[in-house]
Symmetry: C2
Subunit: 339 residues, 2 copies
């Protein structure tokens, strides 16, 4: 069994299908994305999720839209559509980053073919980036270790190996024995529905836990390191990721466990000074209340901010950036300044 | 609206009804407990839960059993039934404590009336204990504070005011304004189903959060103190409580927030040296997997151990026992030695 791709792109017909991740692990259904409304809805409702996958999906969605725009209105319309796409999930910096790459091609006079090439380039680069992240993180996966991860920064969230999972997939392919604990990740259970499912599909030894069980596992010496993904790394190195990430980072500090964050360099946002400057998305109370809870108020932030001081390092396509070194983010800063 | 009692005892007919807390908040159904099997099942499946409520229910259940035993076999049988009851939930020290109190009466030659008096005494004492816990903890509830609690150590878990909730109920009755955040408490969602429901029923300002949101709330300065209950306090002051309690205690230490544990003195177990000596109950994987998760392995410990060094103090019927003082548990040790 292999993990089905989150994004299917047909280059001949310029048509886009997204795996509806809300229905996993029980159903594998693909959504046809034929216009902007469908793309925005898929992104906003988490049918497609994971920062890199959102970026790739948005890039292809813009190509789909460009295909159907009359040529004379293309300039204004595409810029407007791009803004709407970016607003569908404001915390995910890759979304804006990918959309802006296509806009730049468009503003430089590039037509449909050029936009299509750029979207495919983003997708191809992402595959290569995940392999590079895997190579940078694989040395952390010593034989016999137990790794805890949170949410889903896996193959479903990206294009092939995932980010937080890339070192795991590469180490597993290399025959290294290790085990993974997956936080179920309330309220939307991405760990239970997605991470546990895709790791097991790949033949990796995975055990699901409630988010509440992390501290007890750490206290018993069962966890050797934590690897999570991230939606945004700010200029000072703060990490914005799924709610509950900060809990894990604090626990790691207390129990002396390394806390790593895997991400493509596009996740680095040098224009935002610190995590305190990031607008955190608050989602519907109903996600917390579900069927079982009493009808009360609920507070449902989708992300939290882990301060750089609690992070051991970033596992990136530019290598393992050790936060205890001087200026660990300099390579990312230099990359971003090329754009 | 008032919180319905967890335990209904009819002194005239010696009949016991337990509120089936598995069906809350949507259904209020009482189970008739007419024999030992029904009592053990209600305790083991969490129809009745919360350490003190389990003890009271077990005491009344023994009276129900004693009523129907032939006199000549009563001695052996009641001792045997008591052992079975104690085994239904081995982590809850109050269960063994209450059952042993009845056994002592029985072994001293007490008949049905004496057993009945002892069970009612346990229930009456519990009401008084909760009021004393409330009085000890109320000074912590300053006007305007935000309190975070975990699981349900509320009225449903005890007899009237609850333990962790007793300072809240008394302060609310006294007109002090404050707010409560309730952890939903995966996997069984006692916070979402029970705590949020009973606090709202009492008119207290309560907001439900996912367990994952605790760190972010603390980081934003929104939480002034944490109060939880406990199933067992060991001789060295370690606290055994619902899985996820240790997470909160570590977070409190990191963010400089006081972490209090409310409990009756019967929760203190001087015969167990430390939390490491407590057998932690592991429950079925299905509780974690539910309907939504992938079909994978799951690890589901029901409790964790918070080391004494992370506890600010115990809120007890013997007053607020400050862990930073010398020998804070001495009053509890002296009480227990009376038995």
């Amino acid at each position: 069994m292999r993990v089905p791709p989150a994004i299917l792109w047909d280059s001949a017909t310029l048509s886009l299908k997204l795996l509806d991740q809300r229905l996993l692990p029980h159903e594998q259904t693909y959504l046809d994305i034929t216009n902007l409304q469908e793309a925005c809805a898929a992104i906003a409702t988490l049918a497609v999720r994971g920062a890199p996958a959102i970026g790739i999906a948005a890039a292809y969605a813009l190509v789909v839209c460009a295909r159907s725009l009359p040529e004379q209105t293309a300039t204004t319309d595409l810029t407007d559509l791009a803004s709407q796409l970016k607003a569908a999930r404001p915390t995910a910096v890759n979304l804006a980053w990918a959309v802006d790459r296509l806009l730049k091609v468009h503003q430089a006079g590039g037509g449909l073919d050029a936009l299509h090439r750029e979207a495919r380039a983003i997708h191809d680069e992402d595959r290569a980036i995940c392999r590079a992240i895997g190579a940078a993180g694989a040395p952390l996966i010593k034989p016999g270790v137990s790794v805890l991860t949170h949410c889903n920064a896996g193959a479903l969230a990206v294009s092939e190996l995932g980010t937080a999972t890339a070192p795991l997939y590469l180490s597993h392919q290399a025959g290294i024995p290790f085990r993974v604990y997956a936080d179920e990740t309330r309220p939307l259970l991405q760990g239970a529905r997605l991470t546990a499912w895709e790791l097991q599909a790949a033949g990796i030894d995975v055990t699901l836990i409630c988010d509440n069980a992390a501290a007890a596992l750490m206290a018993s010496g069962e966890i050797d390191l934590v690897i999570v993904g991230t939606d945004r790394v700010t200029r000072n190195g703060d990490v914005v990721n799924k709610i509950g990430t900060l809990n894990l980072a604090v626990l790691c500090r207390h129990f002396g466990i390394p806390f790593y964050v895997a991400c493509p360099s596009s996740t680095f946002d040098p224009h935002t000074a610190t995590g305190a400057d990031v607008t955190i998305e608050h989602r519907a109370a109903q996600e917390v209340l579900g069927e079982q809870a009493a009808r009360v108020k609920a507070h449902n932030p989708a992300f939290d901010v882990t301060p750089a001081e609690l992070v051991s390092g970033l596992i990136t396509d530019r290598g393992l950036l050790d936060y205890s070194s001087d200026h660990p983010l300099l390579p990312l800063l230099e990359d971003q300044q090329q754009y």
